[in-house]
C-alpha cells in the first residue's frame, strides 16, 4: 500500500498575549508529532481532553497553519498550502465533527447541506448533483432519500443528523476522513450504528480514517492502529490488537486500567490509576510529560525520551524501554 499521509515532527503552538509588555506565551497543543498513514487504513488517535488530538486533526486538514514540521499528502508537500491552491486538498479530505447539532446549518434543508460541497467544487450539472446527493443519502441509509432530502436538521434525531454529517463527508469521495469524536454525543444504542457505518465506508470505498476519540473501548471495532496522545506528544503507536493486549507506556497502561467493562465485580475493587491531571500545555514539565504522574519516573525522565521501536511496529516514547 502507498503512503497517503506523512507527518514529520509537526508542531502547532497557539500564541497567548497577556499584556503589552509581558512575554508572549505559547500553548503547545501539538509538539513534535510524526507518523505515516497508508491509504485505506484507519488510525485511532486516543487521548484525554486537552491532549492536542483535535488540534492535530485540524492541522492535518490544514484548518490550522502548522507552526513547524512537514505534512505530505500522496508525496506532495502540503505544509504551507495557501487558500488558492488548497481546493484540491479540501476535496480529498473531510471532517466529521463531534456535535452534529452544531455542524449542520439549521436553515438549510438536508438537500442543500449536501449540495453545498458539490457547488463549491464545480459540479455544474444540476441533475448530476441531485444524483450524488441521493446516492450519499442511500449510502448512509437515510432512506427513502427523497423524504430525508427535504427535511431540516431539527426534524432529525441525533443519530440521523450524524448520518447527514457522514453523507456530507463522503459525497466528494475523499481519500481521507478525520472523524473527531463522531459518536460521543450519541446514545449507546445509536453509537454502534454510526461506528459500523464508518467502518463499512472505510472498507467499501477504501477511505482512510483518522478516528479521534477519548474512548479506547470503541477503537477495537474500528481501526487497525492506535496512537496514544498525551500532552501534545504521541507516546505510543501500535496495531490495535497488540496495543490492547500489550500496552507498554505507563500512561497507556493507566488509561486501560481506568476503563471499566460491564462487570458486577468492578464494585468490589479499586482501580489502579495514577492521581493528578495532565499538565498545562503552556508550561509543560521538562522531558517526559507524564513523568510527574508516573510511578516509574526517575531522573532520566527529565530529558525528552526518544521514540523506541520495542517490537516490530510497536513504538513507545519512554525511557523504560531504552536499552543502555
Amino acid at each position: 500500500m502507498n503512503s497517503l499521509l506523512k507527518v514529520e515532527n509537526l508542531k502547532k503552538w497557539f500564541e497567548i498575549k497577556k499584556g503589552l509588555f509581558s512575554p508572549t506565551l505559547y500553548v503547545r497543543a501539538v509538539d513534535g508529532v510524526s507518523f505515516q498513514l497508508l491509504s485505506g487504513e484507519a488510525i485511532s488517535l486516543v487521548g484525554e481532553s486537552g491532549s492536542g488530538k483535535t488540534t492535530l486533526g485540524k492541522t492535518i486538514l490544514r484548518l490550522y497553519e502548522p507552526t513547524s514540521g512537514k505534512l505530505y499528502f500522496e508525496g506532495k508537500d502540503i505544509t504551507h498550502l495557501d487558500d488558492k491552491n488548497s481546493l484540491w486538498y479540501r476535496r480529498e479530505t473531510a471532517l466529521i465533527q463531534q456535535d452534529p447539532f452544531g455542524a449542520l446549518a439549521p436553515h438549510f434543508t438536508i438537500y442543500r447541506i449536501l449540495e453545498e460541497p458539490l457547488i463549491i467544487h464545480g459540479f455544474k450539472d444540476k441533475r448530476e448533483r441531485r444524483e450524488l446527493v441521493y446516492r450519499a443519502l442511500r449510502e448512509v441509509r437515510l432512506v427513502p432519500e427523497e423524504d430525508f432530502a427535504h427535511k431540516y436538521p431539527h426534524m432529525l434525531s441525533g443519530g440521523q443528523m450524524q448520518r447527514v454529517a457522514v453523507a456530507r463527508a463522503i459525497i466528494l469521495r475523499p481519500k481521507l476522513i478525520i472523524a473527531d469524536e463522531p459518536v460521543s454525543m450519541l446514545d449507546a444504542s445509536v453509537r454502534v450504528e454510526i461506528l459500523n457505518l464508518l467502518h463499512e465506508l472505510q472498507n467499501r470505498n477504501k477511505i482512510s480514517f483518522i478516528y479521534i476519540t477519548h474512548d479506547l473501548a470503541t477503537t477495537r471495532y474500528f481501526s487497525e492502529w492506535i496512537f496514544i496522545m498525551y500532552a501534545g506528544h504521541i507516546v505510543e503507536k501500535a496495531r490495535t490488537k497488540e496495543l490492547l493486549k500489550k500496552p507498554l507506556h505507563p500512561y497507556t497502561k493507566a488509561l486501560l486500567a481506568a476503563i471499566p467493562d460491564p462487570d458486577p465485580e468492578n464494585r468490589k475493587q479499586f482501580r489502579d490509576v495514577p492521581p493528578g491531571e495532565p499538565p498545562s500545555l503552556v508550561n509543560p514539565p521538562p522531558g517526559c510529560r507524564f513523568a510527574p504522574r508516573c510511578p516509574y519516573a526517575t531522573d532520566v525522565c527529565r530529558k525528552e525520551p526518544p521514540e523506541i521501536e520495542v517490537e516490530k511496529e510497536h513504538w513507545v516514547k519512554c525511557w523504560l524501554y531504552k536499552e543502555s
Binding site: V190, T218, R220, P262
Partner: protein, 322 residues
C-alpha cells in the same frame, strides 16, 4: 428502617411536566426500593426520565409540574405528605443529598469554594460560619483536596477537583442517601476512575446509600449493587448486579448491554434499531414495542405488568407473563 432493611421505598411515583405541546410523561408509575448501604444504578438513554426521577425524589422541581404523585417512603415516613417547609428542614440535604450533573457549572463562580461547602452547614444545621469553614476544610481533605483550597475560586480548580468539591458538599451533612446524577461523565477516563475510587471508598467507610444515575452501563457496574433500567419514563427491569449483568431479561436491557463496547473481551456490537419515543405521546402498550424484536399484538395493545422472576429480579415485559 423497617425490618427487612428498606431505607427508601418509592411507590407509584409520577412526575409529568406541562408544556405548550402537552404533558411530558417523564416519570410514569415508578416503583423501587433501596436498602441502607446499598447502591442502585438507574441506567437509561438521554430523555428516558432518569434525572427527573432523581429530582422527584429530592423534590427539586421546575415550575411546570403537571402531575407529581405517589409515595416516597423514607424510614417509614411518606415524604410526599410533608409540605415544602417541612421537606426542606427534615429531608433535603439532611437525609437525601445530590451531586448534580455537570459539576463544572454547578458551583457559583464568584464565591470561594470553602464558603460554598460551609454554606450547606450554615443553612441546614444552623452552624456558625467559622465552625462551618473548619468542617469544610475537613471534608476537602476527606475527598482528597488540600485544605488550602477553601480560599480558592472555582476557576482555579480542575474539572476533577470541582467534582470532588461537589461530592464534599453532598456528604457534609452526613445524609443517608446521596443521589449521583451522571457524576463523572464530563471528565477524562483516568480522572473518572479516581472519582469512582473515591465514591467506593466513601461507601465502604461511611455506609452511604447511593442512587447512581447514568447512561453508561459499564460505569454503572463500578458502584451498583442493583441495576434499574429505565425506558421512556418507566422502569422496565430491576435486578441485583450479579444477575443483571450475566442475564438481562428485558429485550431493551439486552439490546443496551449488547451495544456496549468492551475492552477485555471480543464481542460483536449490536445496535437497537430506531430511537426512543417522545414522552409527549409514548406508544400504546409496551413503550418499547416499536423497536422490540419479540413484539406481538399483545405488546402494542396493553402495557405489560411488572412481574418478579426471582428474588428481587423484576421485569416489565409480556414475554415472561404466563
Amino acid at each position: 428502617m423497617d425490618k427487612n432493611g428498606t431505607l427508601l421505598s418509592v411507590q407509584n411515583l409520577y412526575l409529568y411536566y406541562k408544556t405548550r405541546k402537552g404533558l411530558v410523561q417523564a416519570v410514569d408509575d415508578v416503583n423501587m426500593e433501596l436498602k441502607r448501604g446499598e447502591t442502585l444504578a438507574v441506567v437509561g438513554e438521554s430523555g428516558c426520565g432518569k434525572s427527573s426521577l432523581a429530582r422527584a425524589i429530592i423534590r427539586l422541581l421546575p415550575r411546570n409540574v403537571g402531575k407529581y404523585s405517589g409515595k416516597i417512603i423514607l424510614d417509614n415516613v411518606d415524604t410526599m405528605k410533608l409540605n415544602e417547609e417541612e421537606f426542606r428542614k427534615q429531608v433535603r440535604w439532611k437525609r437525601i443529598s445530590m451531586v448534580f450533573q455537570g459539576a463544572q457549572n454547578s458551583l457559583n463562580p464568584v464565591l470561594k469554594v470553602g464558603y460554598q461547602i460551609a454554606e450547606v452547614l450554615m443553612l441546614h444545621l444552623n452552624m456558625s460560619k467559622s465552625r462551618a469553614l473548619e468542617e469544610a476544610k475537613k471534608y476537602l481533605r476527606f475527598v482528597g483536596i488540600h485544605e488550602a483550597f477553601v480560599d480558592r475560586y472555582p476557576f482555579e480548580l480542575s474539572g476533577g477537583m470541582k467534582q470532588r468539591v461537589m461530592i464534599a458538599m453532598s456528604l457534609i451533612t452526613n445524609p443517608d442517601i446521596i443521589i449521583l446524577d451522571e457524576p463523572p461523565s464530563a471528565l477524562d477516563v483516568i480522572t473518572q476512575a479516581n472519582i469512582m475510587n473515591l465514591l467506593k471508598k466513601l461507601k465502604k467507610e461511611r455506609n452511604f446509600s447511593y442512587i447512581f444515575i447514568t447512561h453508561d452501563m459499564a460505569l454503572a457496574s463500578e458502584l451498583a449493587d442493583k441495576v434499574a433500567i429505565m425506558y421512556a419514563g418507566e422502569i422496565v427491569e430491576i435486578a441485583p448486579s450479579e444477575v443483571f449483568y450475566s442475564e438481562p431479561m428485558h429485550p431493551y436491557a439486552k439490546g443496551l448491554i449488547g451495544s456496549v463496547p468492551t475492552l477485555r473481551s471480543e464481542k460483536e456490537l449490536k445496535s437497537i434499531p430506531g430511537s426512543p419515543p417522545s414522552l409527549f405521546n409514548p406508544p400504546k402498550g409496551c413503550r418499547f414495542h416499536p423497536r422490540c424484536p419479540h413484539a406481538d399484538d399483545r405488546c402494542s395493545e396493553k402495557n405489560p405488568p411488572t412481574i418478579e422472576l426471582k428474588d428481587g429480579h423484576l421485569v416489565k415485559c409480556w414475554l415472561y407473563v404466563r
